[in-house]
Symmetry: none
Subunit: 125 residues, 4 copies
DNA sequence: GTGGTCTAGACCACC
DNA sequence: GTGGTCTAGACCACC
């Protein structure tokens, strides 16, 4: 299910968390859903089980998931949280995008036009 | 002049090239300008001179700069090239941005609205 | 396999490239062939691995070879390229030869006769 | 008069000797001619006077020139010597040429044809 | 002063 | 095992 191309810009556990957040944001995962077991995910992503452990623990600390002994790890039933995560990720992506475009000397008008062009050209495909 | 926060997503020499391309795109560097000497830039960026050498040599092979022995390295006088570079970098940034937003489940309308909001809020600041 | 007597008329990496081109021209190397690994060649030629790296990288940028991570460096499968290289090297050698002979005051007839003599005497050996 | 582009394939004094031999071969210098004074040549070639000294001394040892105290250095009046030198230089050039062409896999026929082509194309220019 | 080459060797990613 | 990056530093050529 989860399939990630890791790069080395961030620790792997952090990229795993990001991917799960993205899945939540686009509703591929929903509150109450069960995550793969740590062992299973470690195998399918070909990473060390400790790395998954770290990702799941961090998400627990964030209040994103809850682990029930002997049953597994589940997305917390908290719709507010899910929408907050989506908001926060979008905010970061947009922020990065705008500042990158500005570092190329693009003004607001130029930035908007480029996005519009991209979107319409993608839609046409 | 050039000041770069390296991350480890890419080789250092490659990040140096990117930064010089960005400087060109926003006209902080112009065709004919002299780049810092290899030694000077190595000192200011606190990297090995060979790493700068690699960056400068790659840019030479790309046709971006030309090196005159004993005189230094200069941005090639080729306005077409400069505008091509800007175009290419913008294209890549927009591409990445749109696909990231789509991976969060945003549709075209949502993406555009987020950019508009960001831009107007930034403008107000 | 490759065995080179370096002189100091050119950088070592450049002489390595020339030798590989020569091997291609006389079909001692063929498209698809694997070159020695960088470490291996460095040892057999008694030069630093970085020097081989430089030679291999330059050939990659020239489109002469392609490098597959973890597998090695291979002559590109492009027969046109190979014949172009041979043509180009012959052209340069003949050019140098004729101008050297002319700088000794030899006319066309004399130049040709000298080559003929050399060739028939070599053939007889 | 003498004007030389030095490379670093050989010591400078040796390249000077070669150039004088070439001048002899093409009769730009003749037996009995006076060579430039050592100081003068050092200046015009922008090399150290000791280097010229070494070149002249070696040519003296070869029997090519003779130095008359207070009068200068002269090409020895020995026509046989001059023709021997030309012969020897041609021999070396042809030798090198043929072996370079062979190292590219050219056979005798191919070598001759390339020289013929070059000569006729040069003649036409 | 400028850039160019080369060595020696560490450390990393991918296989 | 393979290649890729980077450092540290020597030495050279050209100006």
């Amino acid at each position: 299910m989860l399939d990630i191309d890791f790069d080395n810009s961030k620790p792997i556990y952090s990229q795993i968390i990001d991917e799960i957040k993205r899945a939540l944001a686009r509703k591929a995962l929903k509150p109450g859903d069960k995550l793969p077991s740590q062992r299973e995910l470690a195998q399918s992503l070909k990473v060390n089980p400790n790395t998954i452990q770290r990702a799941y623990r961090d998400m627990e600390l964030l209040g994103l998931v809850e682990t029930l002994r002997g049953q597994g790890t589940f997305i917390r039933k908290d719709d507010q949280l899910v929408s907050d995560i989506k908001e926060e990720m979008m905010e970061e992506i947009v922020e990065t995008f705008v500042s990158q475009m500005q570092s190329l000397g693009c003004d607001s008008k130029k930035i908007l036009r480029q996005v519009e062009e991209k979107i319409t050209s993608t839609a046409r495909q």
